[in-house]
């Protein structure tokens, strides 16, 4: 028994060393370098993608890393791998490696200014990468937007389920409230249809008013969350799970019975306001605010309530206020994500936000990891990409994904990246200080 464990650890160490050796040249590349590399890769794809794809025997640029092509025709696998290597991997790592000194210098120069500036630059670069990458296919654009929206929903659920440790099932209800409120305002104000009559405001104002209608959706969702937050003072755990579940069913049923918004037939014709920039900005804003929230005193109070309510109370944490704020805050962002979702799909019905949605969001939170912003991002993007990649398998997809999730739960019960702190300052820092380039193996003073 012991011998086997030893051998296994030895093998594990060997693998780890090999990985570390392969990684060593890139250890000094800061995030800025990687983003520049990715930007180069997507530009290469834009200008040379089609000839390269044709040359490798593919009909067109593989839309989503070629998963769909592989599942249709296994023989295309080598050319898809080659395409990924030539177009994505090689340019990225080459540019990242070559630019690493310059990128480090730039990153450390940026540190002299407020962190916001550096953060904005990184976010802008990330947006540029996504913009160019999604510019090549509408399918990519849709997948990216839905993934970003899923990030918002997952983060907001993680605040309640991960950071506060409740098992809340009400998130589809909050999303539904946000989606319907935002849709009703935009359709009422800017769309001439036979449900709400002619448009009230000129269409040019639409994109300007859209954030307001999203926020209104978030606020309505927060108001709805009162129904769950107030019972949470008296009870928690399983009974709260039921209350939140009942809330979700009530919201669904409510919209099914509201003929003004289409009842069970749903509400369509939302104007196309949720383009990539809008969704991206809201997602970045959400990550920033949620991350600051959970790292604040209030966020630590959430953890205290989770780990021991009595102890938290004794340590002067106002548990009522904490629960109240957490539910309303989470519901607000869930409402925003619902509003964005409605304007991306441009059709919603009460069933959109049912138990299926619940299972989906819960899966994203628990896959990515509890109590972790990075985990939520990973869970949401990962599950979305996975589900798109396996789409050609049709029904089998919904057997493979649950099996993978069960495996994750068995081997990492709290999720892949649970209990991590997401520190933007650490993420954006240069990996090597250029001024000390010559003396980096001497111990720092």
């Amino acid at each position: 028994m012991e011998v086997r464990t030893e051998r296994m650890t030895a093998r594990g160490q060997g693998l780890r060393q090999a990985l570390a050796r392969a990684w060593a040249p890139f250890a000094r590349v800061p995030l800025l370098g990687w983003l520049l590399g990715a930007l180069l890769a997507v530009f290469i794809e834009q200008f040379l993608g089609t000839p390269i794809a044709r040359g490798l025997g593919m009909p067109k640029i593989p839309a989503l890393f070629g998963f769909d092509l592989v599942l249709q025709d296994l023989l295309l696998l080598p050319s898809i791998v080659a395409y990924a290597l030539v177009v994505y991997v090689l340019p990225t790592i080459l540019a990242a490696r070559l630019l690493s000194t310059a990128a480090n210098r730039a990153a450390s120069r940026l540190l002299k200014y407020p962190l916001v500036l550096s953060a904005l630059l990184h976010i802008g670069l990330l947006y540029a990468v996504l913009h160019v990458w999604t510019g090549l296919s509408d399918y990519r654009l849709l997948v990216v937007r839905l993934s970003l929206i899923a990030v918002i929903a997952t983060l907001s659920l993680n605040v309640v389920n991960g950071y506060m440790g409740e098992f809340s099932c009400s998130h589809p209800g909050f999303m539904s409230l946000g989606a319907y409120t935002a849709s009703v305002t935009t359709v009422l104000l800017f769309v001439s249809d036979n449900r709400f009559g002619p448009a009230i405001l000129p269409e040019a104002l639409g994109p300007l008013v859209f954030p307001l209608s999203l926020i209104l959706g978030g606020v309505v969702a927060s108001l709805g969350a009162l129904l769950v937050a107030i019972p949470s003072f008296r009870t928690r755990g399983d009974y709260l799970a039921i209350i939140s579940l009942a809330f979700m069913f009530i919201v669904k049923s409510l919209f099914e019975n509201l003929e003004v918004v289409g009842g069970a037939r749903g509400l369509g014709d939302q104007p196309n306001y949720a383009g990539l920039p809008t969704v991206f900005i809201w997602t970045a804003l959400c990550i920033w605010i949620v991350n600051n929230f959970v790292r604040s005193t209030m966020g630590k109070a959430l953890n205290a309530v989770r780990d021991g309510e009595l102890a938290a109370e004794a340590m002067s944490v106002d548990t009522r206020r904490t629960k109240f704020v957490a539910f309303l805050f989470a519901a607000f962002w869930a409402g925003i994500s619902g509003g964005l979702f409605a304007h991306v799909i441009r059709y919603i019905n009460p069933d959109t936000f049912g138990v299926r949605k619940l299972a989906e969001v819960l899966a994203m939170v628990y896959l990515g990891g509890l109590n972790s912003v990075t985990g939520s991002i990973l869970g949401a993007v990962g599950l979305n990409l996975l589900s798109e990649a396996l789409r050609p398998l049709e029904i089998l997809k919904w057997i493979i994904i649950p099996i993978m999730l069960i495996l994750v739960m068995v081997f990492r019960p709290t999720g892949l990246l649970a209990f991590r702190d997401f520190d933007p300052a650490k993420l954006l820092r240069p990996m090597q200080d250029p001024s000390k380039e010559m003396s980096d193996d001497r111990p720092a003073r």
Binding site: I243, S253, L254, N257, A311, Y366, I399, M409, T414
Partner: protein, 311 residues
């Protein structure tokens, strides 16, 4: 008055399904403190097993050789279907426990809830992939006989469904109260940290709990097939979530509480539909449940919640 009585009969019937499913839910919940979100789909699997078992039994040639009267023959088939499907579905339940719950002993409770949810999705879509999306018609095992009591019409099916489910509920209650295994389950529900130290295997008890709960779910599935002879792969989803509500409403560790809450749910739903448009059903039913939980936040027979430290 007759209208009310008629609705009462309907409510008893639909409550029977909820009660049988909720008991399985509630038992897993009290013994392991876990939500078995796959239970609704285990009910669906039970109904399908019943469909295939009864179909197979009906197609046997043996019946002509034995030469029983048609009524007796169908009755025999029904009983056999119930027994065989309950047994097979118990195996399904044990598999669910073995795959989705045993590896997660000691993990956070929510993780096990997620595996349960995922196993439910696998069961639904596995069914879709294997059998295709078309609905199945459950074979007619009992010819319908309608009894008129005044203006209230009772069918023999309804009576049988209510009687069978009440009998199963009471039998299960007695099992939990009187037998050694039942005592072990109650002990486990009382404290699943110390009781395993007393030489009771938590794995065995958990397997048994899942087996019994799934057997009851299979019975519910067959009874459902007899009442509404259309089966589809998604039929378990709503039943599962509602039974979950009923199980919690009944209170932790109480078979009768879960059964009662199941019947109550049936009553609420039927009477809401009787007096309001049917689309309002979930709205009002869950509204009432919210109200009940506001005033009795620990269910009918559960212990009150206290913020004590559970180690």
């Amino acid at each position: 008055m007759d209208f009310l009585l008629q609705q009462l009969v309907n409510a008893l019937q639909s409550g029977s399904f909820y009660a049988l499913i909720a008991i399985g839910y509630s038992m897993v919940y009290s013994v392991l403190m876990l939500f078995n979100f796959a239970h609704g789909d285990v009910f669906m699997v039970g109904a399908y097993i019943g469909f295939f078992v009864s179909g197979g039994l009906l197609a046997l040639d043996v019946w002509e050789v034995i030469g029983l009267p048609v009524g007796v023959q169908l009755g025999l088939i029904l009983v056999l279907t119930l027994i065989v499907s309950m047994f097979l579905n118990a195996l399904v339940g044990m598999a669910v426990e073995r795959i989705g719950y045993r590896p997660l002993r000691g993990a956070p409770r929510a993780s096990a809830a997620i595996t349960g949810l995922m196993i439910g999705i696998i069961l639904e879509n596995g069914n879709l992939a294997l059998l295709g999306p078309q609905r199945r018609a459950f074979p007619e095992l009992i010819p319908t006989v309608t009894l008129q009591l005044g203006d209230v019409s009772l069918t023999n099916k309804k009576i049988m469904i209510v009687v069978v489910s009440l009998l199963l509920t009471l039998a299960f209650h007695q099992f939990v109260r009187r037998t050694k295994w039942g005592m072990a389950m109650r002990a486990m529900a009382y404290d699943f940290v110390v009781v395993p130290l007393m030489g009771i295997s938590i794995n065995k008890i958990a397997l048994m709990t899942f087996a019994l709960g799934s057997a009851l779910a299979a019975a519910a599935g067959i009874l459902f097939g007899i009442a509404f002879p259309v089966l589809d792969p998604n039929m378990g989803i709503l039943f599962g979530w509602k039974a979950f509500v009923a199980a919690i409403l009944g209170g932790r560790g109480s078979v009768l509480g879960a059964g009662l809450a199941g019947f109550l749910l049936g009553f609420i739903e039927i009477f809401v539909v009787a007096f309001f448009p049917s689309t309002m059903r979930n709205l009002i039913a869950f509204g009432i449940i919210l109200l009940i939980l506001t005033f009795r936040p620990h269910g009918f027979f559960g212990e009150p919640y206290s913020a004590q430290l559970r180690l």
